[in-house]
């Protein structure tokens, strides 16, 4: 704040200096006005004789009629000059308004920057990341992209036989879920989703047991090989699951390791990656949720 106050102070002195300037000069100007009014009556060439008239004017300035005109103005100017046009009250008001504006513009700038990022990812027409899909939830019910709408969803792709990265990331996800829940005061506007890239091994039963260890709120989704391949394509997730797996065969799946934050229109907003901590991720998510709320857009809280 100190750094912003310093230029503010400089601005203030400059402003007051320039405001005082016309006042200092206004006294001679008043005399000039009086002079020109006199000249008008005398001759059209009066400006050629300014030197003479200057004497005349200064002489006339002490006449009673001129005194009557000038005295109240000078008195006012004198009194204003002694205190200056800026009392400590107006100075304080100026500083507070200025400071307020600076803070407001900073906040607005950040918000617009985030909005720009969010808008940018919407692209023209079809979103670049995410799109329609049909999968099955852990109760075997159909789950489509439509079910994600109305809330901010947080989509992660992985597989239960993942050695170390997925479990780490899911632990992080669990922490984020709790943080966001706390920050939104229990408003149910955040939908964490885990989509398996390995549907052959990750059946609903396997997924349920697996996700239970991380967070009960995570929605597990699986489907046919084709359905999963399609959703991975929609989300631009690298998909390398072998199609034909012999029973008992052991394999790993390569996949992208990002969380995808999607807005209530189910448009991609931002990626949360390995470098994010639960805290930084929560901050990013909450910024987007709060922006959405501030713009008065609808959110589903069921």
């Amino acid at each position: 704040m100190a750094s912003t106050m310093r230029p503010m102070g400089r601005m203030l002195t400059r402003a007051s200096r320039s405001a005082l300037l016309p006042i200092e000069h206004s006294a001679p100007r008043a005399a000039q006005t009086a002079l020109s009014s006199v000249n008008k009556t005398s001759s059209p060439f009066s400006h050629l004789r300014t030197a003479n008239n200057g004497l005349l004017a200064s002489h006339r300035a002490f006449s009673t009629s001129q005194l009557r005109l000038r005295a109240p103005t000078m008195g006012q100017l004198k009194s204003r000059h002694s205190t200056g046009p800026f009392s400590w009250k107006s100075a304080l008001l100026f500083v507070l308004t200025g400071g307020g504006m600076i803070i407001y513009f900073r906040v607005e700038k950040e918000r617009l920057e985030r909005k720009r990022i969010a808008e940018m990812s919407k692209g023209v027409g079809k979103p670049k990341v995410g799109g329609p899909f049909t999968l099955k939830d852990l109760d075997g019910k159909e789950f489509t992209a439509e079910d994600l709408k109305g809330k901010y969803s947080f989509v992660y792709f992985g597989f239960t036989h993942c050695p170390d990265i997925c479990p780490d990331e899911l632990d992080k996800m669990a922490e984020i879920i709790d943080n966001v829940k706390e920050a939104t005061k229990g408003d149910n506007v955040f939908l964490p989703v885990f989509i398996t890239c390995d549907p052959v091994r990750d059946t609903p039963e396997v997924l349920r047991e697996y996700l239970k260890e991380f967070h009960p709120d995570i929605i597990g989704l699986t489907g046919t090989y084709e359905a999963v391949r399609n959703v991975c394509k929609q989300y631009r997730v690298y998909f390398s699951t072998p199609r034909d797996v012999k029973p008992g065969e052991d394999y790993l799946v390569d996949h992208s390791i990002y969380f995808y934050l999607m807005d209530p229109d189910n448009d991609f907003v931002e990626c949360i990656g390995r470098q994010d901590t639960p805290e930084s991720a929560t901050r990013t998510i909450m910024e987007h949720i709060n922006d959405w709320k501030r713009e008065g857009k609808p959110l589903r809280k069921d």
């Binding site: 050695p163 091994r201 260890e213 790993l252």
Partner: protein, 115 residues
């Protein structure tokens, strides 16, 4: 080739045909086995446990046996490869850092100063 070659553990197939993944505790056991094995490799100056398999089995026989028991074969292979990958990555980072430092020294010698 199960999670535990001893196969005294619960069945690995779910009732709906899925394959049950290692849970948190068996993951922890696997990581522990891995760390023990890797510290043995460190002691014996071995980086790539796949290339030097014979040597590894001679010198860290006990550790690799425990590691292979605690983790699935795919995980064992993954961790061995990851060890090499991470070592090379760190080496590269170090090399770049050194090159950068040398460059800065060189520039400073020519009278350049950081802002």
């Amino acid at each position: 080739m199960g999670w535990f070659s001893s196969s005294s553990e619960a069945p690995k197939t779910a009732s709906d045909g899925g394959r049950i993944a290692p849970d948190r505790s068996s993951r922890a056991r696997c990581y522990e086995g891995r760390d023990m094995f890797f510290s043995c490799l460190d002691r014996n100056d071995i980086l790539d446990a796949i290339k030097e398999d014979k040597e590894v089995r001679r010198k860290c026989g006990k550790e690799i046996a425990e590691f292979e028991t605690a983790c699935s074969a795919a995980w064992v292979k993954y961790f061995k490869e990851k060890r090499v990958m991470e070592f090379n990555r760190d080496q590269t980072i170090e090399r770049i850092k050194k090159e950068d430092a040398a460059k800065v020294q060189d520039l400073k010698a020519q009278g350049w100063t950081a802002r």
